[in-house]
Amino acid sequence: MTVMEQRGAYRPTPPPAWQPRTDPAPLLPDAEPRRVLGTEAAAQTDPELLRRLYAQVVLGRRYNAQATALTKQGRLAVYPSSTGQEACEVAAALVLEERDWLFPSYRDTLAVVARGVDPVEALTLLRGDWHTGYDPYEHRVAPLCTPLATQLPHAVGLAHAARLKGDDVVALAMVGDGGTSEGDFHEALNFAAVWQAPVVFFVQNNGFAISVPLAKQTAAPSLAHKAVGYGMPGRLVDGNDAAAVHEVLSEAVRRAREGGGPTLVEAVTYRIEAHTNADDATRYRGESEVETWREHDPILLLERELTARGLLDEQAKEAAREAAETMAADLRARMNQDPALDPADLFAHVYAEETPHLREQRALLRAELDAEAEPEGGHR
């Protein structure tokens, strides 16, 4: 006889029936990243879009190379290259309407440029003449964000505010695989899902956070899976396949615009260069791994598709290359000019109205500058 039987009648009251809030099935990502180029699905893709993606990705590759070269010449303090990730960068900018907003992180200069920001202004942060070189409102691009994932709640707040005002504006926020471990990533996704904010979270999983591989970053089956826990769809896409990234992001943007709420998109890609010019990638990965990814290059994938369909000949390739060289030459020339800096700017934008103690400090700087300007006078 068990204890329970001795006591007789104890039967736990069953709790009220538990219901999951939503059927998780449609939220789960596919098992494999979506691919378009080289598959039958490619036939559905607009040839004009493919050509446009090609031209932009070629331009982007050249931009990355030029910016990297500028670090070697000491013209840029640092450049986190997106070589190998150009399909993601370009698609992120192209899926947005003019009224939409882009929230980039420090690696996403290329997306910022593809959105229309002047390439030199987009590099201001990395050159070091000011933190943000462009007017965020001009192209609706938030400042490049250096602390990881902190721009994601901004995107949610902006999209939410737009919806409250009745505007059908979408915000697309970019983050790396490492950034998904930050608390702000969690808070942003949760807020977005609860508020059904029109936001697209775009994770570029390029394999590493500086030196730390994805397996040491998360135990989730994929980063896209994380969406399910928040109650939003997660989507997995081949990040080197520009047509696929464009397609998946477009679907997410459309869903957001139509009131369907946020989506988390994970693009599986690879960072071909080191984290930045200051990083030594040989410490944490082998050249053979990099080589495998070089064969899955975003430009190659587009070239094969376009050529197979008779949409790209040598002449068109040459035209794309030339456009890229022209852009690079212009960038080089303009970046080789020293920026004009005004030290008074240091105090100009701390508060709307300068506080008394900043006024005193500005006067001190003024005096120092005046003394510098008249070296004859010596130390006073």
Binding site: T150, H154, H186, D345, T355
Partner: protein, 334 residues
């Protein structure tokens, strides 16, 4: 001249009224935070706002301080004026990353193109018998962050006026609410509340001739009480209520100390690395030749905020202030 009807009201009521008036005057003002909607906030400061303005204007958010402030940044980018409530001083810490890395410097990062008119309301300070994490005085962190305004009312009228000004400001304002004064009553005109002095101006709450007590927020009433008590010992103390830590009103403070020649800074937060050190230095720099004694500080101890049964030993009280005032009879060589 018409006489206005002054009625007793609490600081909490004045704050609620300020939020309501700001929301009514400007549809871009949005309140968000934990429990601010149906409940009206744990201190009831947002009472009735969700009902009057709808849940889109006064929103119960998920429980995440960084998320609250981070989304407020995006809302401000899109032209709204978010007023964020942090439930308690020590629970604002998860939002520090957003506050320091973005809220405080977005105007600067963007060369003035993207100002963020966000008000962050933080109930702060001790004296209410709160358990751990419910009594911190965190102002030193805020004032050390360029780009933020930091204000704290000590009177019912100032609670109204300063909050209206904070919400109207194009810069982010950390609005510190001395929680032990929430229920303190004052006569005030609730029919026609006015903003009195603007942010950035200190006020002499009690004129005096023999020394200045420089203080703010929850310590203002304590200093006034100390000033009354000091009369018996022949001291006529002036009490300056700073109202605004950033910007700091050097003029009013220095003018007072030049008149009295002696000064004590009084606040609840610790003295090491606390606001008192900054204030004492500023006073010394400006009034050195007028000073009859070193500028003294009466502050909380430099300890983690103590448990409620011991907090009275920690908080600067009348006796400790009077002891400091006695030490102002300083003679060189002492």
């Amino acid at each position: 001249m018409t006489t206005v009807a002054l009625k007793p009201a609490t600081m909490a009521q004045a704050l609620t009224r300020a939020l309501r008036d700001a929301m009514a005057a400007d549809p871009s003002v949005h309140v968000l935070g934990e429990d601010v909607g149906t409940l009206g906030g744990v201190f009831r400061v947002t009472d009735g706002l969700a009902k009057e303005f709808g849940e889109d204007r006064c929103t119960d958010t998920p429980l995440a301080e960084a998320g609250i402030l981070g989304t407020a940044v995006g809302m401000a980018m899109y032209g709204l004026r978010p007023v964020v409530e942090m439930q308690f001083d020590a629970f604002a810490y998860p939002a520090f990353e957003q506050l320091i890395s973005h809220v405080a410097r977005m105007r600067n990062r963007t060369r003035g193109r993207m100002p963020l008119p966000i008000t962050v309301r933080v109930p702060y300070g001790g004296g209410i018998g709160g358990v751990e994490h419910h009594s911190d005085s965190s102002e030193a962190y805020y004032i050390a962050t360029p780009g933020l305004h930091v204000v704290t009312p000590a009177t019912v009228a100032d609670a109204y006026g300063l909050l209206r000004d904070a919400i109207a400001s194009d810069d982010p304002v950390v609005f510190l609410e001395p929680k032990r004064l929430y229920w303190s009553k004052d006569t005030w005109n609730p029919e026609d509340p006015q903003t009195v002095d603007p942010i950035g101006r200190a006020v002499v709450r009690r004129p005096g001739r023999s020394a200045t007590l420089i203080t703010y927020g929850p310590s203002v009433p304590v200093c006034l009480e100390a000033a009354e008590a000091a009369r018996a010992e022949g001291w006529d103390l002036e009490v300056v209520d700073l109202r605004s830590l950033v910007p700091f009103d050097d003029e009013t403070v220095a003018a007072s100390v030049r008149r009295t020649g002696r000064a004590v800074v009084v606040h609840e937060s610790g003295s090491f690395g606390g606001p008192g050190g900054e204030i004492a230095a500023r006073v010394t720099e400006r009034c050195f030749h007028h000073l009859e004694a070193p500028v003294l500080r009466v502050a909380g101890f430099d300890i983690p905020y103590p448990p409620p049964m011991l907090e009275r030993h920690h908080l600067p009280g009348v006796d400790r202030i009077l002891d400091a005032v006695a030490r102002l009879q300083w003679e060189a060589g002492n």
